[in-house]
């Protein structure tokens, strides 16, 4: 996984609450069996005026001029600023893959849906929760300041604004550790194989019905 330490980037605003993962990456693109290639279809139904299909070349498709991320001033943005409950709905990790593939390294919101929030950390994308007031102020700054960039520092847990203001944010210690070091979580968990086996041995005694094998009769 790509490590996340410091990152400075352009901020793009998506001013709506409850952005669901169906909107982030519509279902037809979930038919892929790969982890990459979702970037051109990020927010597909909002971003384009026509209907998109998987494995289609998106370069000639008509863009929706009313969609904020299509504005020239937000091209190349890597930090998405949005409202509460971002990533709600389906568990599709394709939503995070699409954001990452489109160049987003961070999403800032007053709150995230749980599964999406988890999925971010597995893919080198940092979800930052800020209080609604701070998010409101950032929306205003982005609106009035072309080229508005933020400096993110995960080890220090700070966001620095162009004016030099520092905003601190919280993050779970273990998630931070994995993200800062780009660690393979499976490898970490397998270090505890002995404990997993010991647990299984005990549970097989206590509750053997949990270990009935699933196989064709």
């Amino acid at each position: 996984m790509q490590a996340f330490t410091q990152h400075q980037g352009l901020v793009a605003p998506l001013d709506r609450a409850n952005v669901d993962t169906d909107a982030i990456i519509p279902k037809q693109f979930l038919k892929s069996i790969h982890r990459s290639g979702f970037g051109p279809n990020l927010f597909d139904e909002w971003r384009y005026l026509d209907h998109g299909e998987p494995e289609q070349d998106c370069s000639g498709r008509p863009l929706n001029p009313a969609f904020v991320l299509n504005q020239p001033r937000y091209q190349g943005a890597s930090i998405l600023l949005t409202r509460n409950n971002f990533g709600c709905g389906s568990s599709r990790e394709h939503a995070v893959w699409a954001l990452a593939d489109a160049g987003f390294r961070c999403v800032i919101a007053p709150g995230f849906a749980d599964i999406f929030f988890n999925n971010c950390f597995k893919n080198g994308v940092l979800p930052i929760v800020l209080d609604a007031g701070s998010v409101d102020r950032l929306f205003h700054k982005v609106e009035v300041t072309p080229g508005y960039r933020l400096l993110l520092d995960l080890p220090a847990q700070t966001i620095t604004t162009p004016a030099g203001e520092s905003i601190t944010f919280g993050v779970d210690a273990f998630r931070k550790h994995c993200l800062v070091n780009g660690l393979d979580e499976i490898g970490l968990s397998l270090q505890y194989s002995g404990e997993i086996r010991a647990y299984e041995a005990r549970r097989r005694q206590e509750a053997p019905w949990l270990f009935v094998d699933l196989e064709s009769a």
């Binding site: 038919k31 069996i33 389906s90 997993i196 019905w209 699933l214």
Partner: protein, 470 residues
């Protein structure tokens, strides 16, 4: 040791701890891993690239459901991209020895219907699947939640998940519901009350007399949509209804093991003095049949109400959300729910594709015909066994004679990954779980309701109160 009162969630959590770090990060053991074709290929590929094998293949049950056609299966899958995804699942399961109900297997169906149906979901289990509606299985007194594909791979490789404990919420639905008010209406009211983010960070236990009175099918409907209130997991305590449902199912324990299991399952309830971080109480007698009018499941109203006016909403973010929803849905504030024009109806999904749901819809439909103004009325059973049972009871004839199409099992128009979908601008009365923009097809407009309500809407051509439906 001092007695500590525990919630059901506390008990399930504690029984599955492999290890816990100082910051609360926990390695949680997973008993059952359900797999479908959409969220698994990258996980299988990740395992292969890392040279790893699944930890316990016999804990896994796989099924293709999202991409499968609901028409003649013998013709295979027309869309080559969909076909490749299903073929990939078949190949991965064959290679690793994972039990899979393939598309042509009589046991195939929506993953959250077949797990309980086969007795693969049991009380006291931890159950995961790369699918947010895994919360369904919590109806059995299990801890069940959806995970992303990286976590699917993690569970395959380690039989564990790295996670942290959620907070405890109790939603108690006190008293009894009136006639015509179903499990679907109960959960829609709960989502409306909590909001779609109200349950974020919580595991919700559903309790109270109205929940206890529900069948397993009804409890699954309620738990299925816990995620629509933001909670990854929903659950219901074990009782006779749970145990009666499971007895004799294929993978449920048998003989002496069954007796031991049942004795243990009786402990799967919250202690009387257990502490919840949040308690929400609803009066069941006051509940009415519900219909969603917007693009989030929290945008819901009783069938006899009118669409609310965004101008009356004080919060600007919420107001804008309502305005955007009405524009997308092509509806106006103040319009009666019954005046919403309908183009299609869909009965099915992991929320309401079980036998009881089909019976409820058939009871309304019997001897009547679908309104001529509707372009399509679909019934998609949740699984092969549900379909066979419905046909044995003659429900298929009732639907077909009324003008419904009787289809093969799958996710179908709930998320429109197969050929079943809405055209832009079409309104659909649907028994599914999400009314997001484009969910049932780009530009499609979804109205969520119970099977009986959707059946009544199919006959009348618009939403009507099923309690007054003659």
């Amino acid at each position: 040791m001092k007695y500590m009162a525990k919630t059901l969630y506390d008990k399930l959590w504690d029984a599955h701890l492999v290890r816990t770090e100082a910051d609360g990060t926990t390695l949680l053991y997973i008993d059952r891993h359900l797999v479908h074709e959409v969220t698994s290929p990258q996980a299988f590929e990740g395992l292969r690239l890392a040279g790893r094998r699944p930890w316990r293949t016999r804990s896994m049950l796989a099924v293709p459901d999202h991409n499968v056609p609901t028409t003649n299966r013998r013709l295979g899958i027309a869309d080559p991209v969909s076909r490749r995804q299903v073929d990939t699942l078949d190949a991965n399961c064959a290679e690793l020895g994972i039990l899979e109900f393939r598309m042509d297997d009589s046991r195939q169906g929506v993953v959250h219907v077949i797990g309980p149906e086969q007795g693969a979901t049991l009380p006291g289990m931890t159950v995961v699947c790369g699918d947010s509606h895994t919360s369904t299985h919590g109806a059995f007194g299990a801890l069940a939640f959806g995970v992303g594909t990286s976590e699917v791979e993690h569970v395959m490789a380690t039989q564990c998940l790295v996670t942290t404990k959620s907070k405890n919420m109790l939603v108690s639905v006190d008293g009894r519901t009136g006639p015509g008010v179903t499990a679907k209406d109960i959960i829609l009211v709960i989502i409306g009350a909590l909001g779609t983010a109200g349950g974020t960070g919580y595991a919700i236990e559903f309790g109270g007399e109205a929940i206890r009175a529900l069948s397993m099918e009804g409890r699954m409907t309620v738990c299925n949509m816990a995620i629509e209130a933001g909670a990854r997991a929903g659950m219901v305590a074990v009782d006779d209804i749970t145990i009666d449902y499971l007895k004799g199912r294929t993978f449920a324990p048998k003989g002496e093991l069954w007796e031991r299991a049942v004795a243990a399952w009786w402990e799967l309830h919250s202690d009387p003095d257990a502490r919840f971080d949040r308690v929400v109480r609803l009066d069941a007698a006051a509940l009415e049949p519900q219909v969603t009018w917007g693009t989030s499941p929290e945008m819901v109203a009783p069938v006899d109400a009118c669409i609310p006016d965004p101008a009356a909403e004080a919060d600007p973010v919420r107001r804008e959300g309502m305005e955007r929803a009405l524009a997308y849905m092509g509806l106006q504030a103040g319009m009666p729910i019954g005046a919403i024009p309908l183009d299609k109806v869909f009965i099915g999904s992991c929320t309401n594709g079980r036998i009881e749901d089909l019976r409820a819809a058939a009871t309304v439909v019997r001897g009547r015909t679908v309104a001529p103004t509707l372009k399509q009325a679909l019934v998609v059973p949740g699984s092969g066994p549900v379909k066979q049972q419905a046909e044995a009871e003659g429900l298929d004839r009732i639907f077909i004679e009324a003008g419904f199409e009787w289809r093969e099992p799958g996710c179908s128009m709930c998320l429109a990954m197969n050929a079943d979908r809405l055209e832009p601008g079409e309104h659909c009365a649907s028994t599914s779980n999400r009314n997001f923009e484009g969910r049932q097809g780009q530009g499609g407009r979804t109205h969520l309701a119970s099977p009986a309500m959707v059946a009544a809407a199919a006959i009348a051509g618009h939403f009507v109160d099923v309690r007054e439906f003659e």
